[in-house]
Amino acid sequence: MHQNEEELIKKLQQGEQEAFKKAIDLYQNMVYNTIISIVQNEADAEDITQEVFIQVYQSVGSFKAHAKFSTWLYRITIAKSLDNEKRKRRKKRFGFMQRLFGEDGEAQYHPVEFNHPGVILDNKEKAGELFKALQKIPDNQRIAFTLNKIEGLNNNEIAEVMNTTFYAVESLLARAKANLKKELKTYYLQKTSK
């Protein structure tokens, strides 16, 4: 582990506010970029980013230096993002009841079209189609693909984050790509037949 990182963790564990500020400065883009790529909604991503850092603040004491700090942070980030997805799916199931009786039944689900802020303007449409297809593949494939293609992690780093082997990640990425191709093909076939 890098010496600076070790020092930062030690200070975080001692509850130093300055260290917490530094951790946010260092890792906020990494956390937010991962979350927004998974949940595909800016407001939710802002919210979950805050939750991730609150979790870090509250449980950094239990962090053991077996893994890198960024690996631990990625794990929290992914867990929180997937929790949010599950919550949304549950809400969607009861959406009808909520619209009948609840006051917050409107506009709870993210729009179908999502534009990642980091994509250049010329690629927005194509990237939107890819992100839409990403929502339809299994969670572990989606996470591996996101960490690789959007966060730029290599297979070893992904294996560490996902607590699996290098070969398992390789297989996950291959399956993710095949499933994405299948989803995109269906989409483009429907589009051309219209």
């Binding site: 883009n29 802002e46 093909k185």
Partner: protein, 112 residues
Amino acid sequence: MMEKDKNIERQIEDAFNSIKGINKATPKPYLLTRINARLNSPVKNNWESAAVFTSRPSVMALGLCLVLAVNVGVMLLNTSSTNKPVAERSATITDEDESSATFVSIDNIENP
């Protein structure tokens, strides 16, 4: 047909290429301030959370339906038992019931 397939293959390839060199998305400024505000906001205790949950219109409506359903169920059970012929109803009284029954006469009440 071949042309159509090729076209779709090209579109798929374009979609994959669209995220090459993607920039990192960044959160809105003052993240630390917002996190600190959340950390310092009062935490709801279990009773408050329960009160908020039960006061939701959907939960109240569900509770009301449940109470109505129980009432209707009890009513139906009672009407079905009172609809039985008198002979059948009296036959259900066992000897034990009879021996354990105490009769209160007007004398008992006046002279306990």
